[in-house]
Subunit: 440 residues, 2 copies
DNA sequence: CTCGGTCAACGGTCAC
DNA sequence: GTGACCGTTGACCGA
């Protein structure tokens, strides 16, 4: 009664189909089971918890058991369908995962001492692969590739499970770093005043902050006002870079976007200030800054037809000071690294969304996703050679920072709801829609 | 004999040879499978549906993938056997087909990263760089254009449609449509005033224009001035969506971006005006419009601290009128479809860049890329059921439109170079860098 | 019904 | 350009 179907429904369908129009129509569910979710070929049922054809199932099984890691030659945007499925294996694998295939559903290598012939086949394969690796001058990979020999299958299985998790975690870190770099590239193009275009277009730009000190300009509120819309777009692009975002329905996307706009607006300036401006300049998302010191009037002056100096200070100095005291100082104290910042941003974004009014199954998925994030962070620390104590301490710092970000973010939200309600100064109308409770 | 193999073989071969000869003696099938039907060499089974040796199979595969067409120096009566097989390729290929080899059994190009060495390399990299992707210099040479074997089509026979080309053409159309839709989604988020956020975030938005009439607002030059930078970013994102863009070096990227900014600035307003504003409103990229009629002053008024009405009209009315007369009217006359617009945009972008100062090999690649585009367009017309005459006529229209776009674009460029030189009004500094010859 | 194993037939590679 | 070589794929099977 429960076996595969029940688990299928809770794990996959509940959250991939939480949009009303799909759940109402049962035939679409039946149709989706008849068609491979990965390549669209006629499917004969479920494989590894996703409606898929046997070919994609075999592909997925091979990829997992051999612990392969593919790299897309393009930008991980290859179309995967019946005719194109063999073109890019990286994207085919990602689509398998996206469509709900579960790495843990791949069983450990079975004991195959069923017949002489099979053993013979394996021995031959084993010998030939061994000799080829020996003849190769490159470092030998035998520890990575599972042996074809069936005799040690029992010993492999626990390691294999760990490796699967590592694989996912590693992938996650790669995704997050890629998206942050893209975000920086876009910000450079939008806000940099002095860089040459060659600097913007180059491939080698691995900087973890988008600006340099020479890009910083005194803040004007009218400048912020005009550039908040592109900034929201960039946050949306960051969110879309997350592999599972496209599977969310509209209302869940809305929740995620709202949360990210709110908390990124706190986090990004914090990191920029920590890296570029502290202790004199508080740097905003668009490389504009205000003076931190009370006597420094930069950015706090009157702006005709926009906002008065007094109101600026009344509304935003407390927020700025709280951000400095509770977030930026913590970043400085722990000497926050780029990777840690990227994790902090992701954890804040997903934790905030998971605490919102989303479907139960999505909530469950989000929590396992955050577990994976912590796992990836731990692996990162491990690769840096940190001890367990240091790892625990830095992870704890990050989690403490998260709660500070939530607190400051809430104050920021309330403050802007007040601004909008009393019309203290003109906010962008898309921002208002994201601040308000209802969507209109 | 080997019972499992035998049953396997019969099952597989029955499926592939579902012909009336299945009643023939099984042994004769096995005998015939033992020797190559083409050259008589010992064969190891079926290839492309004919019992053949691996050499003849490889020969057939190369011939099909490279779409080669051989000519026999004799009278197409050459004997093809084990010793003579390399003498006449025309007769060898002919015999391949005669013996039942099926061109459609040759599959599309597979993942190029799948090679033995490269795979090993990736796996090693995978191990060593668990998390330190930052320090990874990412060895694969980006400036090198890979093999693109399909572009080496010297001896093309038009009646033998290349399967691979069809795949690539299909992929190309898909990419272009996807990028245009993404472009529209981004424009909606940047410029829409009245849509609800749910409308922006929904997946089902397949509209081919980003705005509705209710989004249109009277133009202000200061508004254009402020929003040109996000627009350049969107053009950059469009360009980056092109699969091969990341393989270009910085200077080539610069050339492409310059060309696209120029011609998209002509093309996008043209399409928007044709679809939304004509004959009263000329619609810009950000949903702002000016009046087309000389008596309609909308958008042409004085703007304090930016630009005077007189200068606006002097600088931009001629450009607008030329765009209407030469481009928009042509779009209207041919009732340009969304897909055609997408192709027009791509053709203009790539043709303009290919005519610039880029490396010879890139130029060659660009031309074959444009050929592929025309092929994809032709396939699209074919799928719509258009006759050859109609296809030729519409393709001709599109090519004529291209040259008009180039002409108007050149005038637009000169006009803005003049504006920048005499400082007639303040242009965005990134735009200036893209207009000027040198990069500084 | 969906696992894993199997192997003929694919594609890519690279000395020759 | 050729063909031996090897890795990958997917229809098929038993469990």
């Amino acid at each position: 009664m429960d076996s595969p179907y029940f688990s299928n429904n809770t794990m996959v369908y509940d959250w991939s189909m939480c949009s009303p129009e799909t759940t109402t129509n049962t035939s679409s569910i039946l149709n989706s089971a008849k068609e491979c979710a990965v390549c669209g070929a006629p499917s004969n049922g479920y494989h590894f918890n996703a409606p898929s054809c046997s070919a994609c199932a075999a592909f997925f099984r091979r990829t997992v058991t051999l612990n392969r890691n593919f790299q897309c030659a393009q930008q991980s945007i290859c179309r995967v369908n019946y005719t194109m499925r063999v073109i890019c294996r990286a994207c085919r694998y990602h689509k398998c995962v996206q469509m709900g295939m579960d790495r843990s559903a791949v069983q450990p290598r079975r004991d195959c001492n069923a017949g002489r012939r099979k053993m013979l086949y394996h021995e031959i394969k084993h010998i030939s692969s061994t000799t080829s690796t020996i003849s190769n001058p490159s470092p030998p990979p035998p520890s990575q590739i599972p042996s074809y020999s069936s005799s040690i299958s029992e010993e492999i299985s626990p390691n294999l499970a760990i490796r699967n998790d590592c694989f996912e975690a590693e992938q996650l870190l790669d995704d997050l770093l890629r998206e942050e770099r893209l975000f920086n590239e876009r910000r450079r193009m939008l806000y940099c005043a002095h860089s040459s275009i060659s600097d913007l277009l180059t491939n080698d730009n691995l900087n973890d902050i988008p600006f340099t000190c020479s890009d910083l300009r005194p803040l004007t509120f009218s400048g912020i006002q005009k550039q908040i819309r592109p900034q929201i777009l960039l946050i949306y692009e960051w969110l879309r870079g997350w592999r599972h975002f496209q599977m969310l329905d509209t209302s869940d996307r809305f929740i995620f976007l709202r949360r990210c706009v709110l908390y990124h607006t706190v986090l990004d300036p914090s990191y920029l200030t920590y890296r570029l401006g502290f202790p004199t300049k508080y740097v905003m998302f668009n490389a504009m800054y205000v003076g931190i010191d009370e006597n420094d009037q930069t950015g706090w002056e009157d702006e005709d037809s926009c906002i008065k100096s007094e109101l600026k200070k009344k509304l935003y100095r407390p927020l700025m000071e709280r951000t400095i005291n509770e977030i930026i100082s913590a970043m400085r104290a722990s000497n926050l690294s780029f990777v840690e910042f990227v994790f902090l941003k992701a954890l804040v974004s997903f934790k905030a969304s998971a605490s919102s009014d989303i479907s139960k199954s999505l909530k469950k998925f989000m929590h396992s996703h955050m577990d994976l994030m912590l796992k990836a962070l731990s692996l990162h620390y491990q690769s840096l050679g940190l001890s367990k104590e240091e790892t625990a301490q830095r992870t704890g710092n990050l989690v403490l920072m998260m709660s500070n970000v939530f607190a400051v973010g809430m104050e920021c939200l309330e403050s802007h709801q007040k601004i909008q309600f009393f019309d203290l100064w003109q906010l962008d109308d898309l921002l208002i829609k994201l601040i308000n409770r209802s969507d209109r």
